[in-house]
């Protein structure tokens, strides 16, 4: 019999407890979405999720127990495997809702893009932990950019815009943690901003004004920032052409992201229903299993991407705040561990995991609240889906392991 203190010496129990509590809430909510006369198809999904939770706990425990060196060595192999799996998805993947995201492994569906997140975080951490490189130099960013953008491109191709952007978000979080100056990161983001702004000429003008101000007062040589601004001008100008080559539904998603009110039929409806469901929960909610909106005219995604709406309806403001606080705790804790850890590699891993969770929690909840486009990113721990649950628990396990080994190099 292993003593609790023994476990505590090996991993951070608070962190793992918070994650497991959220996963438990998730299973309760998945069970709730399976109740009612119109939800027969979802009735037994909670059992599957329970099974995956078992797998997730095992993955978390193993991840917490393994020493840091192990991840350092494993990074390249994991990364290569996940690229292979992502490529396989594009060739032999299963198609659902018009996207090719899953591999059918004898009956259960695996989503390699979820595992690719772990691999990308580990390899980026390994590369960026090299102390001999001057990470303030622009040129040094080439390798990390390639490492992050290859899986991003593969995921984007599925298409899964939400997950593809999560890798970019993680890349930026880790680069910043590695000591890349904010200005450098800004220069990387400026072309994208220019692209988006170019659709309204007056926004574009304001953008160029701001860009000039930031670049000028940051002390960049004039030649440099004129070059950057010219480049952004060209990118903004050609983006209209690129826009026309996009799929209609991608356009509509991006448009709804920019808030001009055009969205997909289902997405618009989801957004409306999700807001009503959350709002109708009021302060304490309708009570567990008593939500009516979720069973009314909701969408198939109520147990996956829109599970937060079910939480909002049945547990109200108080329940939502508790869940949101737990997410905040996990992310806060991740940053603390990164700060405390003496190993640069460990710090970077924690920063990457914190960024990933921040992205997913933020985008998913904002989506259910009508503040972000319907992109189809799952809510970590809560959403139905094995790949996401196991990945998230494993990542928390890694952080929990690092937490008690902050003094290791």
């Amino acid at each position: 019999m292993i003593q609790l203190t023994e476990i505590r010496r090996r991993a951070d129990l608070g962190l793992m407890g918070a994650a497991l509590f959220l996963a438990g809430v998730g299973i309760c909510l998945v069970y709730s979405t399976g109740q009612g006369p119109l939800a027969a198809a979802r009735a037994s999904l909670y059992l599957k999720q329970l099974m995956w939770l078992g797998g997730g706990i095992a993955a978390m425990a193993a991840a917490a127990a393994l020493p840091l060196r192990f991840y350092d060595g494993l990074a390249k192999l994991l990364y290569a495997l996940s690229l292979l799996a992502l490529a396989a998805v594009l060739v032999i993947g299963e198609v659902r809702y018009g996207a090719r995201r899953w591999l059918d492994l004898g009956g259960f569906l695996l989503q390699p893009s979820e595992f690719a997140k772990v691999a990308t975080i580990l390899l980026l951490a390994r590369i960026l932990s090299d102390r001999r490189t001057d990470w303030t130099r622009f040129r040094s960013l080439t390798l990390p950019l390639i490492i992050a953008l290859v899986p991003t491109a593969l995921v984007f191709e599925e298409p899964d815009l939400g997950t593809a952007l999560s890798l970019v978000f993680v890349l930026f979080g880790m680069l910043y943690w590695a000591g890349v100056p904010a200005l450098t990161l800004a220069v990387l983001v400026l072309p994208l901003a220019s692209m988006l702004c170019s659709f309204w000429w007056w926004v574009w003008l304001i953008f160029f004004g701001l860009q000039w101000a930031v670049l000028h007062y940051s002390g960049l040589p004039v030649v440099h920032y004129v070059f950057v601004m010219l480049g952004n001008g060209v990118i903004g100008a050609v983006s209209n052409k690129v826009w026309n080559s996009l799929e209609d539904y991608q356009k509509e998603r991006i448009i709804s992201f920019l808030g001009s009110g055009v969205d997909r039929l289902g997405a618009g409806y989801q957004s409306v229903q999700s807001k009503i469901a959350i709002g109708s929960g009021s302060i304490v909610g309708t009570g567990y299993l008593k939500g009516t909106q979720k069973s009314l005219a909701f969408l198939p995604q109520q147990h996956t991407d829109f599970i937060f709406a079910v939480l909002g309806e049945e547990f109200g403001f108080l329940g939502c705040v508790v869940v949101v606080a737990l997410y905040a705790f996990i992310i806060w804790k991740g940053i603390s561990i990164a700060l405390r850890s003496r190993s640069r590699f460990a710090g970077l891993v924690c920063a990457g995991v914190a960024s990933l969770l921040l992205y997913h929690v933020g985008l998913n909840i904002l989506m259910t609240l009508g503040l972000a486009p319907v992109t189809g990113v799952p809510l970590p721990f809560l959403s139905y889906g094995g790949s996401s649950l196991i990945t998230c628990l494993a990542l928390v396990g890694i952080m929990a392991g690092i937490s008690v080994r902050v003094h290791e190099f």
Binding site: T136, Y176, W177, P181, R264, Y269, S282, F317, L369
Partner: protein, 625 residues
């Protein structure tokens, strides 16, 4: 970047930035939750308790298809549809049962479709914000029955929706095509504004090729309805619903086809026979008429075709769904003697006045005798006379002198070995064999030299579409331009319809056969003689007052009676129409296809039938070719 080092930061300050970002994000989330759940919570829960939001699709109207003079060929009429919403409150609360309501509706009529309805609703569950369309084209009895029992049929309602209608029935059915309901995979694959369940999709002809312009775009509106399905005006304390998007009507498509000419062509082909007539404007390739028999009534598809009737249409041995003008391949018979003559003149093998060995009714080549259609023979003929009389023996000799590949080369130049490029789906490519093809098919040297004799008179493996033949005739008529035939003159936006000036049609010269004007002139001369000369085989195509040029053809058909063909153009001095006529299993081109062409020309030139010179009983008319 060297001067930006002061922006590089300590680990502590970077952690602080991370935390600021997280705090800001969670503050937004909690603030928004507070707004929804605490501030507006009462309003939202009122709304959730009593009402629901439903998505109303505002149906678009498909563009009309018009003939070149603006006469309607395809339009929309209102049809009453029965819609069912399985997510009505009664079903969710358990106060009513979906299947019970379905059964009692079926008892009012349409009982045989109960199983189909159940399947539709099962599929409809994937789109819970949309009612399922159970039936359309309801009559007044059905409507009043359902309205009468509405109180015990929750979820059922009747809505008027546009339905496609073809006022002329079978007329130009292959050219127009038809529409049918969007299939599940089309709905899933398409972007949101494109197809909704119940929307119609063009399946063939212009309905298919101009689908994008014709279909328009559905509008949508989120409406709040109370428990009885009545619309509730949103109150100011509730968050607003997304704005209404109005539907866009599809563009009207104006065809190059002339309704009267099309009708004349179909009438000339007759009810009983199979075949095709294509009439082109040789000056730009516009299709003036495109008839194919047998046809079908495209209205039955819009009304909803039962699987049994669909199978019957699709598997009929007469292939009524096939557009014979573009999708059927026929051996061209003697109409292709024009090609052989052109090749002979261009290659210097013969000139219009060249005489060869006299025709005795049979031509010896090796050990075989090749017959002329005229047993008694034609005697000595020039090239022009040989075309006029359609003498086989003369053309056997040209074939021997030209060889397979030189004839095939001219077939390629006249576009007879490719598609014409008309926008209609499923067009077949013509075929003309080459020595290479024979070697590949039968083995090197294992095919007889005699094939060239057969090819020279248009028999053998050659295959053409009626449209391909018409383009060939048009290129002779217009002095050597192969136009890509086109069927759409213009697309007109709905709101633009009053404008008299429409964009002119698109004219695309495809290629030039590269044949000298002297040769083409000689061909035109010979074709006129073939209709009105002393030896003419196509005399029945003649129309009083109009100089008609043409060439008959009788294609041997191994599966039955010969196919009758006729190609030509008129008037000779300034051609306005070029045409190809094919009548399946009907006998000789001169006696069957030529009169069809004459009827089409009479319609085009507005010549009354009573002034038509009927063949006199005393005339000795060669009815063969």
């Amino acid at each position: 970047m060297s001067q930006s080092h002061y922006l590089a930061s300590s680990k502590q300050s970077r952690a602080r930035v991370f935390r600021y970002v997280a705090v800001a994000l969670f503050a937004v989330i909690v603030g928004r939750l507070f707004l929804f759940q605490v501030w507006h919570g009462r309003a939202y829960s009122e709304q959730a308790r009593h009402n629901r939001v439903r998505l109303e699709i505002l149906p678009r109207i498909r563009g009309e298809i018009l003939d070149r003079h603006g006469r309607v060929l395809a339009e929309n009429v209102l049809s009453y549809c029965l819609l069912f919403d399985p997510f009505e409150k009664e079903f969710v609360s358990g106060a009513a049962d979906v299947d019970e309501v379905l059964t009692s509706t079926a008892a009012l009529g349409g009982g045989e479709r109960l199983e189909e309805w159940r399947a539709l609703i099962e599929k409809g569950r994937e789109l819970p914000f949309r009612p399922v369309q159970l039936a359309c084209n309801l009559d007044i009895t059905q409507i009043s029955l359902i309205e009468e029992h509405k109180s015990r049929l929750p979820g059922m309602r009747i809505e008027a929706r546009p339905r496609r209608s073809y006022p002329h029935g079978e007329l130009a059915c292959h050219l127009l095509g038809y529409v049918s309901e969007a299939r599940q995979e089309e709905i899933e694959r398409s972007a949101e504004g494109v197809y909704q369940p119940g929307d119609m999709v063009g399946r063939s002809g212009v309905e298919e090729s101009r689908e994008v312009a014709l279909r328009g775009r559905n509008g949508k509106e989120y409406v709040e309805v109370d428990a009885r399905g009545r619309r509730v005006e949103p109150t100011p304390d509730r968050p607003p619903l997304p704005a209404r998007e109005r539907p866009w009507a599809g563009s009207d498509v104006v065809l190059t086809v002339d309704l009267d000419l099309q009708r004349a062509a179909e009438a000339a082909l007759g009810e009983e026979r199979s075949g095709a007539v294509v009439v082109l404007d040789p000056r730009d390739g516009a299709v003036l008429a495109m008839a194919s028999r047998p046809g079908f009534d495209p209205n039955v598809f819009a009304l909803g075709l039962s699987p049994g009737r669909w199978r019957k249409l699709n598997s009929s041995p007469l292939h009524p769904l096939m557009n014979r003008a573009t999708q059927a391949l026929y051996p061209p018979g003697s109409t292709l003697k024009l090609l052989t003559a052109a090749a002979a003149m261009e290659e210097g093998v013969a000139n219009p006045a060249t005489t060869l060995e006299p025709c005795t009714g049979v031509y010896r080549f090796g050990t075989r005798g090749f017959r002329c259609w005229r047993e008694e023979g034609h005697g000595i003929l020039t090239l022009l006379e040989a075309v006029e009389a359609s003498c086989d023996v003369y053309f056997y000799q040209l074939g021997i002198r030209l060889g397979v590949d030189r004839m095939a080369e001219y077939a390629r130049r006249f576009g007879l070995r490719s598609r014409t490029g008309v926008e209609l789906q499923g067009e077949k490519s013509g075929f003309y064999p080459t020595t290479q093809w024979y070697d590949k098919t039968y083995g090197h040297g294992r095919w007889g030299k005699g094939v060239r004799l057969n090819l020279a008179i248009g028999q053998g493996e050659i295959l053409v579409t009626p449209l391909g033949l018409a383009v060939f005739a048009a290129s002779i008529a217009n002095g050597g331009t192969l136009y890509r035939p086109y069927v759409v003159a213009s697309q007109v936006e709905r709101w633009d319809r009053s404008r008299s000036a429409r964009r002119p049609g698109r004219v695309t010269p495809r290629a030039s056969p590269g044949v000298s004007s002297v040769t083409l002139k000689a061909l035109r001369q010979a074709m006129e003689a073939a209709v009105s000369g002393p030896l003419a085989t196509g005399r029945m195509a003649s129309v009083p007052g109009i100089r008609v040029a043409g060439k008959t053809g009788t294609a041997q058909n191994p599966h039955g009676q010969d196919h009758a063909l006729f190609v030509g153009f008129a008037p000779v001095e300034a051609p306005e129409v070029a045409f190809a006529v094919v009548v399946e299993n009907a006998g000789h081109g001169g006696s069957v296809a030529a009169p069809v062409a004459a009827a089409v020309l009479r319609s085009y030139f507005h010549i009354q039938p009573d002034t038509v010179a009927v063949a006199q009983p005393g005339d000795t008319l060669d009815t063969a070719d």
